[in-house]
């Protein structure tokens, strides 16, 4: 590069312009080649999904990898209930994404709950970050019930929740508290456990 620069300095204008055009042209060529070569099928896909679209997909997937005791459903026709307590961060998208699906032959229903409402009919409960301050109280109210509690507040699984969704480097990571699941009589598949960071409550022995 430097040697070239020396020669060019004797005729300052044209050669540098020419080399610029040359460089631009070869870069353009490489560029087109690269764009075409990179899996043309991928072209038809859309932009990266939003944080809560992915979190919603996780919620639905959890239900496939967790086993509920038989008494969690009043009868064979009762639906599978996803609950959101607090402000809805999914902006209605959870309903749109999963309400026409079924899980184990059961209809999927998404319901919004207010704090203090009876959560017993719920199977998966997403606790919105707006309820951060009432977390202990909320977790207490579902104690012993077969409800898979999920939240994306900091340290949720450590504080007694079952699955925490943690955003790291723009990716969603899972934190699971198996003791909490046990207390709720839920069986989490080993596959889901293997993909998550296992955490425990302080003083719970495991961390």
């Amino acid at each position: 590069m430097d040697a070239g620069a020396c020669v060019q300095s004797q005729r300052p204008d044209r050669p540098s312009l020419l080399s610029a055009v040359k460089i631009a042209r070869s870069i353009f060529f490489l560029f087109t080649l690269a764009v075409f070569a990179s899996e043309p099928l991928a072209w038809a896909q859309s932009d990266s999904p939003s944080e809560y679209q992915v979190k919603a997909a996780f919620l639905y997937n959890f239900a496939k990898f967790v086993e509920w005791p038989a008494d969690a459903f009043p009868d064979s026709t009762s639906p599978f209930v996803f609950g959101i307590v607090g402000d809805d961060p999914f902006e209605g998208e959870l309903t749109g994404m999963i309400s026409e699906k079924s899980l184990g032959g059961r209809r999927v229903v998404v319901r919004r709950f207010r704090r203090g409402e009876d959560l017993r009919q719920c199977h998966v409960l997403f606790i919105s970050s707006s309820e951060k301050k009432n977390l202990a109280q909320l977790l207490d109210s579902v104690k012993g019930l077969s409800i898979l509690t999920v939240a994306d507040t900091d340290g949720f699984a450590r504080q007694g929740g079952i699955i925490g969704l943690v955003l790291e480097e723009n990716r969603v990571r899972l934190e699971i508290n198996p003791q909490a699941a046990e207390h709720s009589h839920l069986k989490i598949s080993s596959k889901l456990l293997a993909l998550a960071r296992i955490v425990g409550e302080p003083g719970g022995g495991r961390d």
Partner: protein, 675 residues
């Protein structure tokens, strides 16, 4: 000849096909939205998400010309310093003066001592009251730790206060929780002779997180027009700490501290005596060092109300040919946010800043008095009103400030934004902002030139500050339009018309004979006065096009024109020269391509128009980065910079007290490992 025509036609057809494919692909893309719920857990875990802060809602809701440099923008730019990163922002003018000095401004009036741009790092003002500008060489952090850089063009004075005249730059680093674990990066190349950084983050007790980092770089010299080394190489070391504690669900405490030191080479020609040869070319180094410590406590009182209390101390030490300065700054800041009713969002705040300096006089430049203490008291109030089911946002506010130079300053602003569909918004604003006098405006004595006269004593042209110097005044009108038809396309157009008054100009005064320092000489005084007015108008366009899942384009366009008129009695040649220190046109294009196997290929092109007032022709800057992330923890990249020409000059204004040197083609390679 036939050959030529065939090649030509073939190329044309090829270009047409490519074009049609590009244009159609986003449309093709709309039909198939993948059902995420059917994705496997592994796929979901690997899926990169767009976080809430980048949501389009925010983009459409801001009634100001804002541009955000994201973490991804920083990583994929291949750039290594904060001033260089600002190049990607349409509406800013960024130029290297020499290897370690920059001229940076928004909307006109550029120079090393450009004084209408306010810069904040994590809430700490890095603007020096000495000349009301920014020492860009010392503004640095670990670039990997930057969450985003918000650049607001146009007056931001109603919230940020004086000197946010033409823009505000907010550099925001990541919270310690997001930078846990280790990071090690090292690289070397031709201009980047060597750099290394290391960061480590861990828990601080049961309620908090911290990180510490250290970085060092050694950058090579640029070139003089003659082809020689410009001796403007520089090297810097820096350490920093940040900790965040969540003391309770309502309270967070942040601690941020840093220390730096370095040497920056400079070649400059200055008047060193009043007898021949008068001027001397000096080659040497600026010695700079400094540090800061900042604490911030934030409390969420309720869903409707929160407040923040911030205190920082900052120290700057510089010693260079043109000046020497030690400065201590203490700053206190309180802000409260209150939502009342369904329609109002009120923010108000109080601030106090104390700054004290000790300057060293030089032969050709001195501040009189050499030491000065200043206090600035300020308050602001702003109400954002949402009407018509949040379609209309009105923002009314004002800053009130009392400073030691000019007394009270009131800087009101009114902004309105109307989103007539969820995808379009139009906004407008009228604001007043002032640039308060700097130390230099009032206390300067600076020798601009000295030459012999055929008979009699030599003549010395000297600029003098004026204790009566008032604030420079701006009344700004802005109008903008945003379009965000779907997630893949966004377009942001901002236009402005700025009316300046009381701008700084030079007024020649009656020459006098001075005996000291010897030999006797005639002083031709040029007084700094509020003697210029003028208009600046322009338009800025920023776009973002996600063409395919693997290819994104970010085009930009900047147009700015400045017309200044010096008042009768002032030296108009010298005063109005400033209007030609900006390129009228700039065009930017950034392209990001994700190739298979985690390979990234990024190109950036800037076309910058000539600087009419200077001997600076137009230039093109082309950068290329090739990156590879073989695993999630490794990142390797090769960066080629300034490919378009072997060398070019970007800025050459008087008086910058440094030789304008030429940017060279360069390359470097970098390795980053996170653990």
């Amino acid at each position: 000849m036939t050959d030529l025509i065939t090649t030509f036609t073939a190329r044309r057809i090829f270009i047409c096909v490519v074009f049609v494919y590009w244009v159609c692909s986003p449309i093709l893309g709309q039909s198939s939205k993948p059902d995420l719920t059917e994705s496997s857990l592994e796929t979901l875990l690997n899926m990169e998400v767009t976080s809430a802060s980048r949501k389009q809602g925010k983009f459409l809701e801001t009634s100001a010309a804002i541009f955000v440099i994201s973490r991804e923008d920083i990583r994929r730019s291949g750039l290594t310093s904060i001033p260089e990163l600002l190049r990607m922002v349409p509406g800013l003018q960024v130029a290297h003066i020499d290897a370690n000095k920059w001229a940076i401004t928004a909307r006109g009036s550029n120079g090393r001592f450009a004084n209408k741009l306010l810069v904040l790092m994590d809430g700490r003002s890095v603007y020096t009251p000495l000349f009301s500008g920014v020492y860009w060489d010392v503004q640095d952090v670990l670039l990997e730790d930057i969450e985003r850089i918000e650049v607001i063009r146009g007056p931001g004075a109603s919230v940020w206060g004086a000197n946010a005249v033409n823009g505000v730059i907010n550099i925001i680093t990541r919270v310690a929780k997001d930078t846990q674990g280790g990071l090690f990066s090292v690289g070397a190349g031709s201009h980047e002779r060597g750099f290394a950084s290391v960061r480590y983050g861990a828990r601080a007790g049961s309620k908090g997180y911290y990180r510490i980092f250290a970085k060092y770089f050694d950058r090579g010299p640029f070139e003089l027009p003659s082809g020689q080394d410009a001796q403007d190489q520089w090297h810097f070391g820096r350490v920093g700490l940040r900790a965040d504690w969540e003391l309770s669900p309502e309270d967070t405490l942040t601690l941020d501290a840093g220390l730096y030191g370095g040497r920056a080479g400079v070649t400059t020609t200055l008047v060193t005596s009043f007898s021949p040869p008068f001027e001397q070319t000096l080659v040497g180094q600026a010695h700079v060092s400094g540090g800061h410590v900042l604490a911030r406590w934030k409390r969420t009182v309720s869903k409707q109300s929160n407040f923040a209390l911030q205190l920082y101390y900052d120290r700057t030490d510089r010693s260079e040919f043109i000046q020497g300065e030690h400065r201590h700054t203490l700053d206190f800041d309180f802000t409260q946010q209150l939502a009342w009713g369904n329609h109002h969002d009120l923010v108000w705040g109080l601030g106090f800043r104390y700054t004290t300096d000790q300057t060293q006089p030089r032969f050709f430049a001195a501040l009189i008095p050499a030491s000065r203490q200043d206090q600035v008291w300020s308050g602001f109030v702003q109400d954002e009103i949402r009407l018509f089911s949040k379609r209309l946002h009105l923002t009314l506010g004002s800053k009130f400030e009392h400073n030691g130079y000019t007394g009270f300053e009131v800087q009101p602003s009114a902004r309105a934004l109307w989103s007539f569909t969820p995808h379009h918004a139009i906004w407008g604003a009228i604001s007043r902002a002032v640039r308060t006098p700097s130390r230099a405006d009032q206390d300067l004595r600076l020798i601009l030139g000295a030459f012999p006269t055929p008979t009699g004593p030599p003549t010395v042209i000297t600029a003098f500050g004026d204790p009566a110097f008032r604030s420079e005044d701006l009344l700004a009108y802005e109008l903008g339009y945003r379009l965000n038809p779907d997630q893949r396309i966004s377009l942001d157009l901002a236009t402005f018309y700025n009316q300046y008054d009381d701008l700084r100009a030079f007024r020649p005064e009656v020459p006098f004979l001075a005996l000291d320092p010897p030999p006797p000489h005639i002083v031709v005084p040029l007084r700094l006065v509020n003697g210029m007015r003028g208009q600046t108008y322009g338009a800025e366009l920023a776009g973002n096009l996600i063409l395919t899942q693997r290819w994104q384009l970010s085009p930009g366009l900047t147009f700015v024109r400045q017309l200044l008129r010096a008042a009768p009695g002032t030296n108009s040649t010298l005063s109005e020269a400033n209007e030609g220190d900006n390129p009228v046109w700039q065009a930017h294009m950034r392209s990001f391509v994700d190739l298979p196997h985690q390979v990234e290929w990024d190109l950036t092109l800037h076309l910058v128009g000539p600087l009419a007032a200077q001997d600076t022709p137009r230039y093109a800057r082309l950068d290329m980065r090739l990156g590879w992330r073989p695993t999630e923890t490794l990142d390797l990249c090769v960066v080629l910079q300034n490919l378009a020409d072997p060398r070019h000059q970007e800025f050459n204004a008087f008086p910058q007290f440094a030789s304008s040197t030429q940017v060279r083609r360069s390359a470097y390679a970098k390795f980053t490992w996170s653990f």
